[in-house]
Amino acid sequence: MKRLYGALHRLQGGLLAAAMLLMAATTILNVFARNVLGDTLAATEELNRFLIVLVCFVGLSYAAGEGRHIRMTALSDALPRAARRWLQAIVCVTTSALLLVFAYYAASYALDVDRRSPVMGVPLRWVYLIAPAGLFLGSLEYALAAVSNMRGPDVYLSFERSDGYEALDSGLEGALEREQGA
């Protein structure tokens, strides 16, 4: 189970990195095309649109796995750890449910799209189906994070990552030592 999860997480990371590099390459290529060849490559702009959909929705799930989505913790930080853990479990369950609902709507939206992209002629349905896939995986991530929080003992931001304030308290001393050591 853990191995399957790890493999899926790494696969998403690889997909994201590849999409980002491809996006950079096409954008740079397009600058070259416009300024040197005097013509923009319409296909690169279209490809970038697809890639940003991929990065957004696959990244949603990947970032959930890394516990990196932006949230505001001023109030929950003030709670004792046990309460924080249960609050976090509730947050994760609710988030998971909401993403599942959105995955359903996204699938229904994507399946309804019956157009092809204007330049490359790709059926947009296949591009937009990335959205429900990413939302569904994201929903799974939060469900797993909820399980981790119910099990304890730490407060978990995701399946495998605890929020770790306590563990890393003396950041400055560490940084000073590293500087002096270097």
Partner: protein, 433 residues
Amino acid sequence: MASLALTLGIVLVVLLLLGFPMKVPLLGAALLAVLLFEPFRYSSPEVLVQQWITGIQPAALIAVPMFMLAAEIMTRGQAADRLLDVVTSFVGHRRGGLPITAAVSCTLFGAISGSTQATVVAVGGPLRPRLVRAGYPDSFAMALIINASDIALLIPPSIGMIVYGVVSGTSIGELFLAGIGPGLLVLVLICVYCHIASVRLGVPPLPRASRSQRRQALKRALLPAGFPVIVVGGIYSGVFSPTEAAAVSVLYAAVLEFIAFRKLRPRDLFAIARSTALVTAVVFVLVGAGQAFSWVVSYAELPRLLVENVFGLNEGSSQLRVLLSIALATFVGCMFVDPIVVILILTPIFAPAAASAGIDPVLVGTVVTMQVAIGSATPPFGCDIFTAIAIFRRPYWEVIRGTPPFLAILLLSSLLVILVPEIALFLRDLAFR
């Protein structure tokens, strides 16, 4: 209609305070509105997904991940350190030299990166230990870094300005140029305060760098200094669009770090791309969810209701009054939510009022970006504070204790920009009018 506005507001605030990831309050409130409220009788929830997907696709938004990628390459490589060294060697020996170095570094790093949070990490990481060792209180050091990072959002490139430009249909190139004046104004005021503070604290300056050390540092910083030339020069002269400038920045950063400095190896590229994609996803999820929420707000025609009843604006309101209302709303918004979300939601709300008062949209964008930057460094919940807590590993109260004087400086500078719009528009007019 008022009950819809109230419901949206309550759902948003309660879920935020409970510590939900920021997309949840936005999507949850939007979904609730579409399912339960009268104006959406004929809409199905699929429209929210459609808004999300179209919201992240404008071509100009590609500049955001590109600038992030360039900044990530430079931060992992040597360019950022080299810039820091050259500033230290020139101003380190003055009164308040080290904090001034930090402020100037934030400005220079802002010319590479478009986000305040990246700047907190890149400049704060190396400079906070140095400041503390030199004798500055830790809370002063942290407040300085958090607040000086605001400058990075004003100096082009700026992610806030890209998003504002896309949402409002304003030229991003013009916005970039208009940010330079206010950014430098904030820098000067912060430097003056640093000088006064270091005299009051009695912190001795650093030893003076020798002429050969300076020449050495200058030589090493020459190549990294090419960034402002590409971004500002390219846009000013009209050679590049902002997106193209972003792409060229990536290429330039890669050539510097992988070939010229040989600091990074090809295998680092994968990790850099992955972590940039992660940050991009976090931003674009907010852009998409923010767009869905914003659609709900506009579709139910809430903007007029809010602008008229909450801010008391109407057809005859003066430009100053409208600008001050916009500034106040964005500032307060950013004390609670991520800047991108604030820009996405508030821009369409205020656009009609700003247009009917005849205010230059570039000026509005500059004021909004400025307030967004300041708000995100302001307690209680400005997001830069949480970035600082995460990377400095210090408790909340210690991080915010030193912020009041900086906040005063920043609010003073935004007042100046509102009263004297030429500070922002001068450079834009020089290039485009």
